[in-house]
């Protein structure tokens, strides 16, 4: 660590010592141990306090030591490195905490019974009932939203990549971006307003929910599909044209199949995004359905996210248990979609390059 030869004074500036490669890790471990020891001695050990004190003491010591051995610039660099690592750890805390609490509280009630019965005839405070009707509603509403959004979204992406030029292209791309930013509650209000004009006030059904979800889903599908279509090599299109294949056959037989894996990934991520949407469904599909309802066009329809919200609003202990278990169900569904999407994207991606 210390230099063995003694260089002249002018050169010493340039050749200051540096800390050993493993010094930070060792110091961090030492800080953690010392802080844990002190906390245990005062018998006030808490994970959060321990983490905070360890981080703080590590930052102070490492900067002080580095300033002494390596000089001010290196010390500043070490401080920033510590902060940057700290930021990442800080961001992981809520992720771990959310998953941990949902798992911890949710497992109490999460079983075959909970997944297979509805709330029909169950009083809010009774120790019974489940989410089957909400799963049915989520499947139906999200399914219909997907059926609406995917053709519109993919065709718009085809238009943007294969056909559109100039101002029209810029306009549509800009407004797709704008549409991505529509708050979900506004999408719900839009359908409320539309339904009031079409069917009169107070009409709630699954179809209304599906349309409000489509407003949120279409721009996501457009953006991801557009990216995927742009990845298709130009040579493939030109080879097809050279064979005399018309443009629309080229798109349907060459471009779309080539990008199929990417399109599927994008669509599944879009589904994962809207399947947890709550606010628009509260306005459009209602909050009080308790029975199994497969009909999108008749009556209120419960869904998993709205179920969580409705149970929390009731506020009793059993209601919270149901809410946590439903949250666990929803997170499992979303994570499955998320991982499946990545798997498909990785496994079936075109092998080019």
């Amino acid at each position: 660590m210390s230099t063995t030869t003694q260089p002249p004074a002018t050169e010493r500036e340039l050749r200051r010592g540096s800390l050993h490669r493993h010094f930070p890790a060792a110091l961090l471990a030492a800080c953690a141990a010392v802080v844990a020891g002190i906390l245990l001695a005062f018998s006030s050990f808490g994970l959060v306090v321990w983490g905070l004190l360890t981080a703080a003491s590590y930052a102070i010591v490492v900067v002080a030591v580095s300033a002494g051995v390596e000089g001010g610039r290196k010390a500043k660099d070490r401080l920033v490195t510590t902060l940057v690592y700290g930021c990442f750890v800080l961001a992981m805390l809520p992720l771990v905490s959310v998953l941990w609490t949902v798992l911890g509280y949710g497992l109490d009630r999460f079983d075959g019974y909970f997944l297979s019965v509805s709330m029909n005839g169950v009083l809010p405070s009774m120790d019974a009932g489940g989410v089957y009707h909400a799963i049915v509603g989520t499947l139906a509403i999200t399914g219909m939203a997907t059926l609406i959004s995917v053709p519109i979204g993919v065709m718009t992406a085809v238009y943007l990549v294969e056909y559109a030029r100039g101002r029209m292209k810029k306009t549509i791309m800009f407004f797709v971006d704008v549409m991505t930013g529509i708050p979900s509650i506004v999408a719900g209000l839009f359908v409320v307003a539309l339904w009031m004009i079409l069917f009169g006030p107070g009409v709630t059904n699954g179809a209304a929910g599906a349309i409000s979800l489509s407003v949120l889903m279409i721009p996501v599908v457009v953006r991801s599909s557009e990216e995927m279509l742009r990845l298709v090599p130009q040579d493939l299109r030109e080879a097809s044209y050279a064979l005399g294949v018309p443009k629309w056959r080229t798109i349907t037989k060459v471009v779309l199949p080539t990008s199929a894996a990417g399109l599927t990934t994008g669509i599944m991520l879009a589904i994962a995004r809207v399947i947890g949407e709550t606010a628009p469904l509260i306005l459009t599909a209602g909050t009080s359905a308790v029975a199994i309802n497969w009909n999108l066009f008749d009556g209120q329809m419960m869904s998993l996210p709205v179920f969580i919200y409705a149970q929390v609003r009731m506020g009793g202990a059993v209601n919270y248990e149901r809410a946590w278990a439903a949250a666990l169900t929803l997170i499992i569904v979303v994570m499955l979609l998320f991982f499946l999407a990545r798997m498909i994207g990785r496994l079936f991606a075109p092998k080019a390059r």
């Binding site: 992981m92 905490s97 519109i152 085809v158 294969e162 009031m196 629309w248 919270y320």
Partner: protein, 321 residues
């Protein structure tokens, strides 16, 4: 149309018009136009349905804080308190999230081991995959109880700052808790945008800085941050748009009342989006129309913020090319 010009790449040579081509091109163009129609429809239907209550409103819609539209005649309501709460919650979220997001993206792009970087980035993306209603449940069922002692300590020691004046709420269902949860929700958005621009920093700039003997932090300060500024600002504004419009986490966490209060440790504020979700099931008379009017305000605010964000990002990426 002249055949002497080399056709643009991707355009097949023009021959006879085929029916299939015409139909398919029409469908594609129709979808694109449909998106414009939907967006125009959102604005138009909201205006149409908001108009009756706005015309009947006896109070000034933008200055009134009360909310009393659930009557057959002479409704009186306004968005002043709601708009204030919306902006306050989003501002808290942004203040907390932006520095952390910059740190995370620096970590993923410049600090993390190459092989791990993709996985770590994916973990941050998972934060965006968790539905907002689950964040709301976590906020009220787990986070708020944890924050109660922190808030009362803050009120005791920092009470001389008006923002933290006591007595602290005993349930911690305050605008600060909502802001913290919103910060977690916008974190992945800001991170994604700044990560993208950090990846685009020219290798040459970074290596030049390092070759001059700069430490890693000096390289970041001299080469990365100036280059990435527009991406960070744009990402933060996109996050702002998301935080302004977020409904469920706020609706579940806040215990609402319609006041304009700077006090972060006491309940009293409410946001537009959460107000709509909470009030809609009970709305009668002019109620629904008034909520649609509030939604229109939210729509306008987020529209302006998002357009500004896109403009900044687009201008930044043009300059860097």
């Amino acid at each position: 149309m002249t055949m002497t010009d080399a056709p643009e790449a991707g355009t097949p040579p023009r021959g006879k018009r085929r029916i299939g081509d015409t139909v398919f091109a029409g469908l594609a163009r129709g979808s694109g136009i449909l998106i414009l129609v939907i967006l125009a429809g959102v604005a138009a239907f909201l205006v149409i349905q908001a108009w009756p209550s706005l015309r009947a409103n006896t109070a000034n819609f933008f200055l009134e804080t009360g909310w009393d539209p659930n009557v057959r005649e002479n409704p009186s309501f306004g968005v002043a308190a709601l708009a204030f709460g919306t902006v306050l919650a989003a501002a808290i979220a942004l203040l907390l999230a932006t520095p952390v997001a910059i740190g995370i993206s620096l970590f993923i792009v410049f600090y993390a081991p190459r092989r791990l970087a993709a996985v770590l980035g994916y973990l941050v993306d998972l934060l965006a995959a968790i539905p907002s209603v689950v964040y709301g449940l976590w906020g009220i069922g787990f986070l708020a109880p944890q924050l109660v002692p922190v808030y009362s300590a803050a009120a005791r020691h920092l009470g001389w700052i008006p923002l933290f004046a006591g007595p602290a709420s005993t349930s911690a269902r305050t605008i600060l808790t909502a802001g913290i949860v919103l910060a977690v929700m916008v974190l992945p958005i800001i991170t994604a945008m700044s990560r993208d621009v950090f990846h685009q920093v020219p290798q040459g700039h970074r290596e030049a800085a390092l070759a001059m003997g700069a430490t890693r932090w000096e390289m970041i300060r001299l080469a990365v941050l100036p280059f990435g500024r527009s991406g960070i600002v744009g990402g933060a504004m996109l996050g702002l748009g998301r935080a302004l419009g977020e409904t469920m986490a706020v609706a579940m966490i806040l215990s609402p009342s319609l006041a304009i209060s700077w006090n972060l440790l006491q309940s009293g504020n409410q946001t537009i989006a959460a107000h709509i979700a909470l009030q809609y099931p009970e709305a009668t008379g002019y109620g629904v129309s008034a909520l649609i009017a509030a939604g229109l305000v939210l729509f306008a605010i987020t529209l302006v913020v998002n357009m500004g964000a896109r403009y900044i990002v687009a201008r930044g990426s043009k300059e860097s090319r």
